[in-house]
Symmetry: C2
Subunit: 86 residues, 2 copies
């Protein structure tokens, strides 16, 4: 199975209210545990960048974080509003 099939979840039903969505995944692999952790900073910056272009409310953003085998993964799922700023 390719990566693209994993995005937005496999069994997502787009029936019902179909809205545009963005999914942002940041994975960080650190060889040394003491290497800088960019995820918290990148998450903050990403939300700032997004808010310049889209009027997203915090209710429309789901954030999850996972760690496995030295890889930290930050996942942001954003449901975009119907009205766009741009």
């Amino acid at each position: 199975m390719s990566l693209i099939n994993m995005l937005f979840g496999k069994k997502q039903k787009t029936a019902g209210v179909a809205r545009d969505r963005l999914q942002i995944i940041i994975a960080q692999e650190r060889v040394k545990a003491q290497a800088p952790d960019y995820l918290p900073t990148l998450q903050k910056e990403l939300l700032e960048v997004l808010s310049k272009y889209v009027r997203v409310s915090l209710d429309d953003i789901r954030i999850s974080q996972e760690k496995q085998d030295g890889v930290d993964v930050l996942e942001l799922n954003i449901t975009l509003p119907e009205q766009k700023k741009v």
Copy 2:
């Protein structure tokens, strides 16, 4: 297979020169074809944000874009330098 296993490629060998890596994936699902395409803008902004924290050269960034079933996927693979700005 979970998403986390798909990141950085499944058969990545970390022997040899082990360096920290970042992988950023942005997937955009547009219900209507005429909905705004955020990927080019987000890509530019992301690289600007990254360059604030890490001294990455363009040689260390691989960018690929894919489209399937109404989902656009932008993938950035960044090999981090050994010396960090922070």
